[in-house]
Symmetry: C2
Subunit: 302 residues, 2 copies
Amino acid sequence: MKLPSSVKLVEVSPRDGLQNETKIIPTPVKAELINRLTNAGLKVIEATSFVRAPKIPQLADAEKLLSLILTKPNVDYPVLVPNLQGLGRALHHGVKSIAVFTAVSNTFNLRNINCNIKDSLQRIEQVIVEAQKHHIKIRGYISCVLGCPYEGETDMTLTAEIAKRLLDLGCFEVSLGDTIGVGTPGKTQQLLEKVITNKIDIGKIAVHFHDTYGQALANIFASLQLGVSVIDASVAGIGGCPYAKGASGNVATEDVLYMLNGLDIKTGVDLNKLVETGNFISNYLGHQSNSKVAKAISARDC
Amino acid sequence: MKLPSSVKLVEVSPRDGLQNETKIIPTPVKAELINRLTNAGLKVIEATSFVRAPKIPQLADAEKLLSLILTKPNVDYPVLVPNLQGLGRALHHGVKSIAVFTAVSNTFNLRNINCNIKDSLQRIEQVIVEAQKHHIKIRGYISCVLGCPYEGETDMTLTAEIAKRLLDLGCFEVSLGDTIGVGTPGKTQQLLEKVITNKIDIGKIAVHFHDTYGQALANIFASLQLGVSVIDASVAGIGGCPYAKGASGNVATEDVLYMLNGLDIKTGVDLNKLVETGNFISNYLGHQSNSKVAKAISARDC
């Protein structure tokens, strides 16, 4: 079980994190968050989403936000795109990188995007065909890979099939999301083995863990052991869990980075700058950071 | 890497947890905590400590507490014993199981028990010789195995030697403590490999992780992979970190149990009763549970 020598961290706080925070953050503060994340050394920062504004008020300022970010040429700032309308807005704004999404649960998809898995893949295909004409990089997301808030356990074989389909359609990478954070390391490895058995290059698989039950880092360690080298995380663990109010959401990037540093796995990200960034946005959100590393370092420095 | 089929959870909240909580808990509440832990199915519950009362005011009620516990015959209630005086008090009270302790750091030992490693082992030998005359079970603790608050990195080879010495002296089990929670899974496995190389039966090794940097569950998963089957934990993660105020301390038993359940590893412990017990003592301590599982389950049940 050789661990990867380097890992790409995909920072999802500006989109997946903030969309679950109730306090609306002013656009310049979001831009400042993204700029600080860039300065901390992150190479992929999911910036916002082109869903319809009334659906997620927190992300209604997508266009304005993109115009405020100080982008760096070697950094990717993908935006979430649910359909052709969203892609149109993204293209109009010169976006170079998008993310499309589905879930391995018909009920979750019906509640979230008003269609079943099959129809969502058709919708994604339309988006990809159009996006490819404009040489856009496309990332795929699959939600509920270790459990669904409505259906309970989900089908790992189906997840592996959807992942393969997304890659075949043109996604360069597929992120497997444990949306409700119920997964444990054994289940994580079972899922990844299904993916590998389905002849998917593990280098094209990202893992996206929520820390609702405190399992995220153990699951990430289990994923690294099977060759995963792309990890989604949210600075300060911002976001919470929309399915259990008061519970934890996205795993904190600081905690992931601390583990990777300890494992001598390179990321190019500066831990101290990351902790400062997490504390910056936590202050704005008006709650404590959900990163244990941030708490420990802040306590130590007092 | 076959995981163990069952794990013994060693509950340390009444001693290691409470000794780091500033709010003094009434003795009957501590007894109620221990009784609830017994009812949840825990087979080892470290009850208290026979240190000098002024040193740790929270544990000054050791004798009174032991008289209030409703013990079960198949459950072990060890008490911490620092020296012959402490052992005398324990024997006087009919204690059947004790724990002795040292650290793999001269500075830590000097500050904590006023002697270096060598002298602490002599002191432990005196305690063990005397305890064995009374057929007492003796557990050993080594602190600072993945880092010391004063000396930084500690010597893994020396830890393996001290562990061997404690077993040779008569300890039935040695618990390796990451006292300041700085360890990561790779370092954890390096340490355990040193222990195994030193011809120590891994079945006699317990791991004791603090979650200060959020790494505890990942470290426990890494330990299970090397055959460790005894895990120390503290319900609701009570205890905090004496070296970083506001940071996390002991890993929460609920979170460990959730992972073990997910891995199909038997413990005999009931998760719901454990969560209720953690919420019970957190309410008395006047702060939120540090268990993410407890928070998620409590949020889900609202």
